[in-house]
Each structure stands twice: as structure tokens, then as C-alpha cells.
Symmetry: C2
Subunit: 171 residues, 2 copies
């Protein structure tokens, strides 16, 4: 089966292909992208298989887990990099499943606060433990020293990117 191999080919030959040489920045990006995709697909698969949950749901519950008092949907959106419109449906489904509860506080009726239910807390605790294990497993072949170093260096990448966004560049 060529199927199994295909996963190695992936995104890295997207652009550079035509003329072998390509800028280092592009190469780095393609590798980051494909690596991230590889790992998150694996996590997705396991979340689904073992807990019947999706990755966005996991992200969202993670935020609520650490804020026992719940979070407003807007806050949730920012912390999870999930857009506003998205949070609505996500929370709706989690509420339907009984893991999250929605409340509108008295002070401000525009606001909706989402909070984990007990079932939600229990489920998330189990998922978080498994999740951490999966990552250690997937990164088992890496020199522990390199893991820490990478963390720091990728911080540089993130800072640089953050510094050159087109978004609010209009002032």
C-alpha cells in the first residue's frame, strides 16, 4: 500500500517542487505546517476514538477547566483562537451533550457565560491526561534538551510573525 507512505510526502513539496531551490523561510514554514498537521490529525483521531470528542471541543473545555467560574463566550473565543461565530455552535453542542452549561449573568444580559458541568470536568480530566501522554509518546524520539530549545526558538518565530501581521497595520 502506497497509502502508508503518502503521509511522508505531504505538504513539503507544495511550492518548492517546480524549481528545487526555495527560500529557507518557505521550507521552514512548510515543514512546520506539515508537522503540525500530522500531530494534530493524530490527536484528533485518538480523541475521537477514545473519547468521542473533537479537537476544538477539547480546546474549549480546556479553557473552561481552568476557569472554574466559567468564561464569557468572547473570552473563550480569544483564548482558543476560535472565532466568535464558532464558539456559539461549539458551546451549543457541548451543552447538548451535557458537558457545558450556559448562564446569562444578571448584570449584563448581552453576555453568556459557559461553564463546565460536573460531567464535563470529569471527562476533561481524563482527556487531558491522555492528551499529555500522547504527546510524550509522539515526541519520545526527540532529545529532551532539544524539546526545550525548540520551544524557545519557535517563540521567536511566533514573535516575528506577530510583528508582521497585515491586520491592524492601518494606523
Amino acid at each position: 500500500m502506497a497509502e502508508t507512505e503518502a503521509i511522508d510526502v505531504d505538504l513539503e513539496i507544495i511550492v518548492q517542487g517546480a524549481h528545487g531551490r526555495s527560500k529557507p523561510e518557505l521550507r521552514l514554514w512548510l515543514r512546520m505546517l506539515s508537522t503540525t498537521k500530522l500531530i494534530s490529525q493524530e490527536i484528533r483521531r485518538r480523541l475521537r476514538a477514545e473519547f468521542g470528542a473533537t479537537l476544538p471541543q477539547f480546546d474549549l473545555m480546556a479553557q473552561l477547566y481552568r476557569e472554574k467560574d466559567g468564561l464569557r463566550l468572547g473570552e473563550l473565543s480569544k483564548r482558543t483562537m476560535v472565532t466568535n461565530g464558532n464558539v456559539t455552535g461549539l458551546v451549543e453542542r457541548l451543552e447538548a451533550d451535557g458537558y457545558v452549561q450556559r448562564v446569562t449573568p444578571q448584570g449584563d444580559r448581552r453576555v453568556t457565560v459557559a461553564k463546565l458541568t460536573e460531567a464535563g470536568v470529569t471527562l476533561f480530566a481524563a482527556m487531558a491526561a491522555a492528551h499529555e501522554g500522547w504527546l510524550q509518546d509522539m515526541m519520545a524520539d526527540i532529545d529532551p534538551h532539544a524539546v526545550a530549545a525548540l520551544w524557545s526558538e519557535i517563540g521567536t518565530v511566533k514573535a516575528s510573525a506577530n510583528n508582521h501581521l497585515s491586520g491592524g497595520a492601518f494606523e
Copy 2:
């Protein structure tokens, strides 16, 4: 307002939050994920704004660009990490826009081969050039030496992850 900062907080506090300390692997993963998301959102934004295209479309056209004779949909799927069912619709839309053409070869009528049209080649060439520039821009603050080093080290991460997948580990 903590609001403005929020974009920096993002995914990295997802899981580790509850008990400040967390495994280095987890920290690395969260940072990779958030960085990748940040950059790809920026690329998405610019592709849309300047070319009216989406990232998956860009990926797909990139593959077809380097294979002037076209690719079967299954091949396309593997090379882009887009699932089979997905390629169908993606190609359909690109065909409707006149950038891609579908042909069924004589030898095997199960097969559909997708190929860039002339308009597709022209469009992609422009997008690829811009895309490369955006990346250099976003990574401008990084030490060029670090870019190359990172590329190599992330290769290690990818290899390790590839080595511990649950999926096709059955041979």
C-alpha cells in the same frame, strides 16, 4: 484592557493552566500549534484579500503546478493531506472558476485527472511569488541561521511523531 493581549495568550494556556507546571512536550506542542495557526491565518487572509483564493485551493494548485501533466485525484489527496472526499469538491470549484480541468483517461475509466488550465498556471505563479514574500516578511525578525536550524530540528519532531502514529501502524 487584557483584551488586546489576548492574541498572545491563545492556545498556550489551554491545558497547562490548571497546574502551572506541564511537560515540556506539551508546551512545545502548544507553541507549535499556536504559531502555525497564527501564520496560516495570516496567509489565508492575504490569499483571500489579494487573490480571492483559499489556502486549500492554493495547496491544491501548487501540486498541479509542478505536475504539468496533471494528477489523479487520489494522488492529489495524498500530496495535500486533503482527504479523498474533499478533493472532489475542491477540484469541482476550481474547475467552475476555470483554473482546473478534469479529464478521464482512456485506459482507466475509474480515474479522474486534474490539470491546471492556462489561467490556473498564471494565477498560481502570481500567488506563489506573493506567498513566498509573505513568509519572508513574517519571518524577517529571525536570525537566518536559526531558520535553517529550526527546519532541521522540526524534522526530528516530525520523524518522531511519524514513528508513533496509531493509525497505519499495522504492518
